[in-house]
């Protein structure tokens, strides 16, 4: 694993005064210690402390299970007993392969669905093996033979276009190795970017399902379980597309399978945060069964596995707003960016002031695409004069494509071709279900 990709883990460590004190007494995390003050003394196990907290307190787990912070000022500290190294004792899992069941690969990229917390130290463990998954979700054994693989352990906000490629290659490898379907555990923040990227990079003969959790998997109410079980069921289905599988509502009832290019995180915290936008979900999974909601999906084995993994990461996604300064666009133009997606207002507009910069970008063969910050609906730049002027300046309207999908698509398309005209054509062509010709009444509010 690339150490670069571990950024963003919750870092636990004493520092400053507290560290000095502990070092001077050779006290380690997990040791049983006594802290004496004038009027009180506490005894318990020394726990680690979040690095962003101050260096004036020690964290103690008392025998009653509670943690408290004890200020080290005027306190006497003594070690009572050295702690054993905290370890998670887990019973072994029977991993015997069931020949009746298909092999499903679960690839972990980090994030909530895959985190195991060491409650003793409070540290987030990158542990993610098939065993861990099965231990937490023994029901999986009845559905499939599970293979687990951790490729990164990052928070999804730290995803980068290069990682999309890496993930796509790892998925392709699993498929080559005979996986009947692949599930990708992913942080929810940028799951829809990754799902869009995989949709463009991969041509897949089997289902590729991204899933995650809005409530961390260490809590009993986590949505991870239903999402994961449903994803494995989806991975066995006949729908050979890249999809996102998450709670359909805030109840633990059913999940939707959203097309990877037309899905978006729409709520900061709810379980049903992912919505199909300008379309409807492909299928619903309920009570362990899959119910297909539309017929226009890619069938299993109808495509050969193909990986088209050249990308161009120098692409920007810019939201326009009243008062936006054209300098912002100039910056990207001057800094050798190859593409810009504008998230314009309404039908696909931005202030007139930006037009000269857009014209300059166009002259330099920088692709400028227009999506709408309305999220719902289709851009149409023929209705108002600003739209028409923007078209004249070379802006590519990307129909009913999500701004995030348009960004990902441009990153990918610029990798696929160096010819601006070809890229422009690709941007307005439906390649992986990202553009639909018809906007149906039922799509909004979704």
């Amino acid at each position: 694993m690339d150490p670069e990709k571990h950024k963003g883990e919750l870092i636990m460590a004493y520092r400053g005064l507290a560290k000095k004190l502990l070092d001077s007494k050779s006290i380690k995390i997990g040791d049983r210690i006594k802290i004496k003050k004038d009027d009180i003394s506490y005894e318990g196990m020394l726990l680690d402390r979040p690095e962003d907290a101050d260096d004036k307190h020690l964290v103690l787990k008392l025998d009653n299970g509670y943690n408290i912070g004890v200020e080290i000022k005027d306190a006497k500290i003594e070690s009572i007993e050295e702690g054993s190294k905290p370890s998670i004792e887990l019973p072994p899992v029977d991993l015997e392969k069931n020949p009746e069941l298909p092999d499903i690969s679960i690839i972990s990229t980090g994030g909530t669905v895959a985190s195991i917390i060491d409650y003793k130290t409070g540290a987030v463990h990158p542990a993610f093996t098939a065993e861990d998954l099965l231990r937490a979700n023994p029901e999986l054994l009845d559905i499939a033979n599970i293979r687990g693989k951790a490729i990164f352990n990052i928070l999804s906000e730290n995803m980068r276009p290069e990682y999309w490629v890496e993930a796509a290659r790892a998925i392709a490898k699993e498929i080559e190795d005979g996986a009947y379907g692949v599930v990708v555990a992913h942080g929810t923040d940028t799951m829809h970017y990754t799902s869009a990227a995989l949709s463009f990079i991969l041509k897949t003969p089997v289902p590729v399902i991204l899933t995650g959790a809005q409530r961390s998997s260490d809590r009993p109410s986590s949505d991870a379980h239903l999402n994961l079980i449903s994803s494995v069921i989806a991975a066995k289905s006949n729908i050979a597309e890249v999809m996102v599988c998450m709670h359909a509502s805030i109840e633990d009832k059913n999940c939707y399978l959203h097309r990877g290019t037309k899905v978006r995180k729409m709520h900061t915290s709810r379980r049903d945060t992912f919505k199909s936008i300008n379309t409807k979900p492909i299928a619903e999974i309920k009570n362990g069964k899959i119910k297909v909601l539309r017929e226009d999906y890619q069938r299993r084995d109808s495509a050969e596995l193909e990986i088209r993994d050249k990308i161009e990461p120098r692409v920007a996604l810019i939201k326009t707003y009243p008062g936006i300064n054209p300098e912002i666009l100039e910056y990207y133009i001057d800094n050798n960016y190859k593409g810009i997606v504008l998230e314009g207002t309404g039908l696909g507009h931005c202030p007139d002031d930006l037009i000269p910069a857009i014209e300059r970008a166009n002259e330099m063969d920088i692709i400028v695409a227009m999506a709408s910050q309305c999220i719902n609906g289709r851009v149409n730049m023929n209705v108002y004069s600003t739209g028409r002027r923007l078209l004249g300046a070379g802006v590519i309207p990307v129909a009913d494509m999500l701004p995030e999908t348009a960004y990902v698509k441009l990153v990918w398309a610029l990798g696929q071709s160096k010819d601006p005209e070809t890229v422009k054509k690709m941007m307005i062509e439906n390649i992986s279900g990202e553009i639909e010709d018809r906007s149906l009444l039922e799509y909004f509010p979704g």
Binding site: L10, D39, I40, Y42, P50, A53, D54, H57, V59, L62, D63, N64, G65, Y66, N67, I68, G69, V70, E71, P86, S87, I88, E89, L90, I116, I117, Y119, K120, G122, A136, R215, S217, D218, R219, P220, S221, S222, H225, L226, I250, E251, D252, K253, T268, S269, R270, R271
Partner: protein, 619 residues
């Protein structure tokens, strides 16, 4: 009973809701609602690995039931936080301040830094599968007549969701109560006398009432920890009436002693619990027992050497069999049959005989039958097996529920310590010396201090003063003394008359302080008599009318001296014969007659004086 000899040890845990603006981790209001729910959310909970790598015993117990939960939610009373759809907001600092104030009144050491923990509770009462809680203070005490009792811990935590009903497809909870801040106060478990236990509960209750806490039914809950030597720690939940505490203790002690006795008896018989579950459906093919007949399957186990002991009484009207049934019921079955009580319930002697034969049971062996869906019956019998095995060890550690008669019933195994892990969504809260100093300066008057002050300032008797404080009327009393009538009269009105009226069924809780004040004002202005006060207040409480109207409608306004004179004159004239005959001795019966007519409308002394004068005139 000699409590020392049996090694009785008790502890107390009090939960008290705080009266803060907003819940502990969101700004929803802390009122309950009986409105029709706007939303119902179905959820499932799963146990997770806990902090020390072990899976919690109690958590697993609940998990086995695989129950679904339905949460009733309202836009008016709940938000996404209660629904576990939004992370908790930072802790409500007002609630934390109230908790620290209580800790200071209990002579406790407040922690330097408050850490919010997750206490795993997967019975559905918390949408997250855990209750958020944190330790505020340790190491305090209260003084009692039996000596000092140590207060070990004070925690600030969120209240659980309200259990509304248990349906076939899951338990229904209402989210209105979830998140209301409460303090949990735990005493040292070394209390040795049931009366002291009751007194500590009372004392802490009094201290709580002097701070900003909620009042009324369900806002305070008492749990007891009880153990005897060789017995086990048992937690009794939900004690509503403090007066019941000594009885609950007595009966729990009795239960543990009986269980120890049972252990000896089982040992002597070389009793054994057989793990095998028998399908005995065939035996009951033609049974007349309706319960068995209607069931999908009939399963049985054999308890070797248990015959005669399953019917053994552990508490008045609760047998060992009741304990076994409690365990079985946790798996969703309606109950069990055991051979100590059979033949009965439509099960014939012949069937019992064939059952015992089928199990190859000897004369000392007993059998337990459960008739239900196969899965349920099987898991229920496994529970019975495990409880029967515990009987051979003695007293199991359990959480039990207080019943109204002082008995207890099994709820779940005692939770193990590994239920607690840190809540990472809430920042640490540094309490600090400055905050403590400020709260120390604003400490409310303690009940004992208040009692002494009322005696000194208002000349009340010890008894009246302590009644006022105990019943929570002290503040009302002080406000009412502004009216400037006799202090003792006001005090006894609050301390005795109101509770009396309440007992008689008047809606005293509807009474506003201004209304009592108005009635006292009438007394002060001489418009009503002292005797009329009680009736007028009762009338106001029921009819919700102004005090003066109450007096009018009851015909209790005082009459003028002239009017009184006329009535007395009339009585004297009507009874001239008696006066002639009995002379001044007629005053007795005539006074009675006069008061019948004038009660509440004239002062008794005045009536007496005028009557005496009129009789004298005649004589």
């Amino acid at each position: 009973m000699d409590w020392d000899e049996i090694g009785l040890k008790m502890g107390l845990e009090i939960h008290q809701q705080l009266d803060s603006k907003g819940k502990l981790f969101c700004p929803c209001n802390c009122e309950l609602t009986d409105d029709k729910p706007e939303y119902t959310i179905m959820r499932r909970l799963r146990p997770t690995q806990s902090e020390l790598g072990k899976i919690d015993r109690a958590a697993f117990e609940e998990a086995k039931r695989k129950l679904r939960f339905y949460y009733q939610a309202y836009s008016s009373h709940t938000c996404l936080v209660e629904a576990d759809e939004e992370p908790p907001h930072p802790i409500n600092s007002e609630a934390l301040e109230i908790a620290v104030t209580i800790a200071l009144l209990l002579n406790m050491n407040v922690v330097d830094e408050f850490h919010t923990m997750r206490k795993q509770v997967i019975d559905g009462s918390n949408t997250g599968g855990f209750q958020r809680t944190g330790l505020v203070a340790t190491n305090g005490y209260v003084e009692t007549g039996h000596g000092r009792v140590k207060i070990e811990n004070l925690c600030l935590e969120e209240d659980a969701a309200r259990r509304i009903e248990e349906r076939e497809d899951g338990i229904v909870f209402r989210l209105d109560r979830l998140g209301i801040p409460l303090v949990e106060i735990t005493t040292d478990p070394s209390i040795k006398d049931p009366d002291q236990l009751k007194e500590v509960a009372y004392q802490i209750g009094q201290i709580l009432r002097s701070t900003k806490v909620k009042r009324g039914i369900g806002t305070i809950r008492q749990d007891l920890n009880i153990s005897i030597r060789d017995g086990a720690r048992v937690e009794v939940k939900g004690v509503q009436d403090l007066n019941l505490i000594p009885e609950i203790v007595k009966r729990e002690v009795q239960r543990q002693l009986k269980l120890l006795e049972l252990r000896e008896k089982l040992k002597n018989r070389k009793a054994k619990v057989v793990d095998k579950i028998y399908d005995v459906g065939d035996i009951f093919k033609d049974t007349r027992s309706k319960i068995i007949k209607g069931a999908e399957s009939v399963l049985a186990i054999k308890l070797e050497g248990f015959s005669g002991f399953i019917g053994m009484e552990l508490q008045p009207d609760r047998r060992f069999g009741t304990e076994l049934a409690d365990y079985a019921k946790k798996m969703g079955v309606a109950g069990i049959f055991h051979t100590d009580e059979l033949p009965a319930y439509g099960i014939s002697e012949e069937e019992v005989k064939r059952l015992l034969e089928h199990l190859d049971a000897g004369e000392n062996d007993a059998a337990i039958i459960i008739a239900d869906e196969r899965d349920k019956a099987e898991s229920a019998l496994l529970e019975v097996v495990s409880r029967a095995k515990m009987a051979m060890q003695g007293v199991p550690e359990e959480t039990r529920k207080a019943l109204e008669d002082g008995n207890t019933s099994y709820l779940r195994p005692l939770p193990t310590a590994s239920r607690m892990y840190v809540e990472t969504d809430i920042p640490l809260f540094k309490i600090g010396a400055k905050m403590i100093k400020r709260l120390e300066d604003e400490l409310p008057e303690l009940p004992s201090e208040k009692k002494e002050r009322l005696i000194k300032e208002y000349g009340l008797s010890e008894d009246l003063s302590s009644q006022l404080v105990k019943k929570g009327f002290a503040d009302d009393f002080e406000k009412l003394t502004m009216v400037d009538v006799d202090n003792t009269l006001v005090a006894s009105l609050l301390a005795y008359t109101l509770p009396e009226l309440k007992r008689d069924g008047y809606k005293i809780e509807n009474l506003k302080l201004e209304e009592i004040e108005g009635a006292l004002q009438l007394l002060k202005e001489g418009k009503i008599s002292k005797d009329a006060l009680k009736d007028i207040i009762a009338y106001i409480a029921d009819k919700k009318v102004e005090p003066i109207r109450a007096a009018q409608e009851l015909d209790l306004l005082l009459l003028s001296e002239e009017e009184v004179g006329e009535i007395i004159q009339q009585i004297v004239e009507e009874n001239e014969d008696m006066i002639k005959e009995r002379k001044m001795a007629a005053i007795g019966p005539l006074m009675g007659e006069a008061m019948k007519k004038l009660r509440g409308k004239a002062d008794g002394q005045l009536v007496n004086r005028m009557l005496r004068e009129k009789i004298q005139e005649k004589v």
